[in-house]
Symmetry: C2
Subunit: 351 residues, 2 copies
């Protein structure tokens, strides 16, 4: 079996965790990495045993020894890096959010449609066994029709976490963590469900990014969803999906889910309901190898991408283009209401 | 010890549950009840062993054998019934919400201030041992400064529950169930905390009442709270209070709380935190005697009222006038944004 050859674009913390997991696969190999400076990419290559390293993202994308590029940089940089990868006919796995806004996402979609490349926005939560189980429950109607979804996610980020607090780096809570709650909402209701309106409010920092936000999405049929997120408060990150016949609860921490509780109305039982919990433990590994909690869960996303590439697929069913575009659309509307505008958008008349 | 003599105004389901519990107290006695028809009040009196029964609320309020009136009717009727009780110098415990709006609440407050009477809006949840425990934790700073509160409450009410669906009966979810979530928010943040703004949206029925709603309350210091409620979906009714040093979770069903989990950041421990759960079981009794789940919990509210009356107090510290007025103020603003106007308010220019 030919190994899938990965190139790592960006040598930061998330790329390090991703590569640590990727290196455990026998059906793929990391052949190259790139950072803005050669020192940085060389150090990364040494740490992870990577043969080639570059001081230019374009050079990585041009490397004929690379089949698929993992983009682990901050999101304002994604658009140009995706273009460079696609231009060189590389498959792409890009960290969420794939772009800053829907306009950029649609531009990427056009390029992907014209190419022969696989593309995936790395909403890794969708690939976890616990999430797959929830999707099965929803698909088989275990809780009837979804009526309400609520999600919370919050971290008390330190003031020195620039990617959160700096507007020029695409800062703010929505695109970094709020997206995790939103993707559960669109998964539970389905991308086809009609959204009647979105109401959002939040708090801007002096620097113009959203420190926290609260989003209500009104769906047809008097159904609704709420997403709460904060960069100031450490929340117990929980997801509730309420249907006509029961409730699915995803326990903290929801974006790296390991436990799901299903409560179903059962009129025939003594107390009218049944409740059962199922655990899906993450792969264990030496925690000191990782920068972030739960990173061993990258396994599921990587596994899926390797499989899709082998099967010559262009899109993941777990998180499709419809999912990406819908999320970008919702996030645009939310940011518009809260008042977050990125430097790249200030010149856009359409925003 | 002289017994506290109670009169029951309204002979519906909630009054029945209340009276069933009240009758178990040895330091008080139910001396009279009143309904709109004599048949109804006589049947209620027989069921609960009450000596006197009336077909007029005024007659109950005029009865010299009554010290305190419990008002268990629908909320649009409360204002006139409270006035009748106060006119006759009776103490009052009135089911929540005490009135339809803040204007009515302030009118009542003026009358109470001029009287020598005890008055309490029956937000019974505040008197539960679990709620008292949460308040202690908050007061002693167990979770530091409160940053975020989120609450959900929802029932799939049948279309024949008129009190919910009929606007002329004060229908809609906010005043009936949303208030339970709101009172946790104002309890956790404290009535003195400055509210910067309130953003609410929901869905009106064809009859003009709120089928569901979502409320965001922005507090000073970039802190916020959300309240979600629905009359269409049975939610797991949970409350999360997130502070700088930890999280308090009140488990379902939050308005009749029996279990509280405290998670605290503990930098000195191995995993940086500790979690402990505490259960507060409700008094057990034959369920067939009650119309609603958890009604034995009326015990705590009744106990408090009997004690306050003995001590000649005029107000309950668990739920004060400041609490009542603040809740009414918030609910007015929420209804204004969602678009719920009651018939009694249509003539008011100020609303």
């Amino acid at each position: 079996m030919t190994k899938v050859r990965w190139g790592i674009l960006g040598c930061g913390k998330i790329s390090s965790d991703f590569t640590t997991v990727l290196n455990q696969f026998t059906d793929s190999v990391v052949t190259a990495c790139a950072a803005r400076s050669l020192d940085r990419s060389e150090a990364f290559a040494k740490k992870h045993g990577i043969a080639n390293y570059y001081d230019s993202y374009d050079k990585l994308c041009e490397d004929p020894g690379v089949d698929v590029v993992y983009i682990g940089t901050i999101h304002p940089r994604h658009i140009d890096q995706i273009k460079s990868a696609l231009k060189n006919r590389k498959h792409v796995l890009v960290e969420k959010p794939m772009t800053l806004n829907k306009t950029q996402a649609l531009e990427v979609k056009t390029l992907v449609d014209q190419s022969d490349c696989f593309f995936l926005e790395g909403v890794w939560t969708r690939f976890f066994p616990a999430t797959r189980y929830v999707r099965c429950l929803l698909d088989e109607g275990a809780i009837g029709q979804v009526q309400f979804v609520t999600t919370c996610i919050g971290y008390a980020f330190s003031p020195d976490v620039k990617r959160i607090w700096d507007r020029s780096l695409g800062g703010g809570g929505l695109l970094d963590i709020g997206i995790y709650g939103l993707q559960y909402v669109t998964m539970a209701f389905g991308v086809e469900a009609k959204i009647e309106s979105i109401v959002a409010s939040g708090k801007l920092t002096d620097g113009g990014v959203d420190a926290y936000g609260s989003i209500t999405i009104h769906y047809e049929g008097s159904r609704f969803a709420t997403v709460q997120y904060s960069c100031l408060a450490k929340m117990n990150e929980r997801v509730s999906i309420v249907g006509t016949k029961g409730v699915i609860e995803i326990h903290p921490e929801g974006h790296i889910p390991t436990k799901v509780t299903l409560s179903r109305k059962e009129p025939d039982t003594a107390d009218g309901s049944t409740t059962s919990s199922t655990e899906f433990l993450l792969p264990t590994d030496d925690a000191s190898k990782y920068e972030f909690e739960g990173s061993t869960g990258f396994k599921y996303e990587i596994e899926a991408v390797n499989d899709y590439l082998r099967q010559n697929k262009r899109e993941a069913s777990e998180f499709s283009w419809d999912d990406s575009i819908l999320l970008q659309d919702i996030m645009d509307q939310v940011r518009h209401q809260i008042g977050v505008v990125y430097p790249e958008e200030e010149k856009l008349v359409s925003f």
